[in-house]
Symmetry: C2
Subunit: 161 residues, 2 copies
DNA sequence: GTCATTTATATCGACGCCGATATATACGAT
DNA sequence: ATCGTATATATCGGCGTCGATATAAATGAC
C-alpha cells in the first residue's frame, strides 16, 4: 500500500483546484459520451457538429474564420468542411475579391438536417442539467468563464516564453 | 442576416443549460490547450498521463481495470500501456492465478519521471484556478458532480433502449 | 473430463486530428 | 512593374482512438 501512503503524504488533502479539475474531467467525459450518439446516428462527428453550429448561428464565413470558433487547426477545418460538402450540407463560394478565400455556408439540406438535430441536442443538454438550479447555473457560468479566460491567458503567455 | 433572425427566434434568449454547456466547452478547450504542452515536452500524451496518474494514485492494477478509470476502451488501454512499457515507465506482471491478466505497475523510472511532472501539472491547474474563491470552488464541484452523474445515468439509460 | 460460454488482453482496419508543408493569391516596398 | 513576404486553403505523413475481432485462458454445465 506504499502508493496510497505516498499519495496522502504528497497531497495531504487533495488540493482543491486539482480536485475540482478532476471532477470537471469526469463531468466532461460523461457529457461527451452522453451527447455523442445522437450525432453519430446522423453520420456526423463532434467537429462536424460544431462547424454546422457555427455556420447556423453566426452565418456564412470563410474557412479560416471557422477554425478559431471550433478550436480546430486550418487543416482540420478544411477536411471537416470537405466532409460536410460531400454530404451536401454546406456550400463553398469562391470570393471574387480575394480568390484565395472560399466562403462556407449551409445548404438547404444542411439546414433541414441540422436544425432538428440541434434542437434534440439542446433538449439532451437540458435534461442533463435538470438538477442544477438557475442560481447554480449562473454561478457555474461565472466560474467557468474565469477559469477559461485565465487558462487561455496563461497558455498564450507560455507560448511567447 | 436571415440566420441571426432564425437564431434569435429559435432561442429567444439562449436557453440557460445550453449556454452554460457552451461555456463549459470553451473552458475545457482552454484548459486542455493550456495543460497539454507540459505533457508533450515529456513525450507523453493525454491518455498516457492519465494512465500513469491512476497507477500512481490507485496502485498497480490489471489492464482491464484501467480502462474505466481513464475512459478508454480496452484496445486503447492496451496500446497506451504498451507505449509506456516501451519507455520503461511501467511494468507488466503476469498473474499466476489467472494467466490471462497482466498487472500493470509503475517502474522506478516511471515514478521518477511522473511524480515531478504531476507536481508541475497540479501547479499549473492551481494557477488557472487562481481567480476562483474556495466557496466558488466548492460550489463548482457540487454542480459539476450533479451534471456528471445525471449525464452518466442518462447515457446508460439510452444504451438499454 | 469435455465442450460451450465468458473474460482478459492484444491486434487490425478505419477514421479524425495534428503539425508541417505545398500551392495559389494578395499585398507592400522599392 | 517586380519581387519578397504574408495569407487562405488544401494536402501529406504520423499518431492515437475506436469498434470489431482474434487469441488465450478460466469457468460452469453436464
Amino acid at each position: 500500500m506504499v502508493w496510497i501512503h505516498i499519495f496522502m503524504k504528497e497531497l495531504k488533502r487533495p488540493p482543491e483546484a486539482l480536485h475540482a479539475w478532476l471532477i470537471m474531467l469526469k463531468a466532461w467525459q460523461s457529457m461527451s459520451r452522453y451527447l455523442l450518439p445522437s450525432l453519430t446516428e446522423e453520420g456526423l462527428g463532434d467537429s462536424d457538429f460544431r462547424v454546422l453550429e457555427v455556420l447556423l448561428h453566426k452565418g456564412p464565413m470563410p474557412v479560416n474564420a471557422i477554425g478559431p470558433k471550433v478550436d480546430l487547426n486550418p487543416g482540420s477545418v478544411s477536411v471537416a468542411v470537405d466532409r460536410l460538402y460531400k454530404k451536401e450540407l454546406v456550400r463553398r463560394v469562391e470570393s471574387t475579391r480575394d480568390r484565395r478565400v472560399r466562403t462556407v455556408s449551409l445548404t438547404e439540406k444542411g439546414r433541414e438536417i441540422f436544425v432538428p438535430l440541434f434542437r434534440r441536442h439542446t433538449a439532451l443538454i437540458k435534461l442533463a442539467f435538470q438538477d442544477v438550479s438557475p442560481e447554480e447555473l449562473q454561478q457555474l457560468e461565472l466560474v467557468l468563464k474565469k477559469i477559461g479566460k485565465r487558462a487561455k491567458d496563461l497558455a498564450e503567455k507560455s507560448q511567447h516564453a
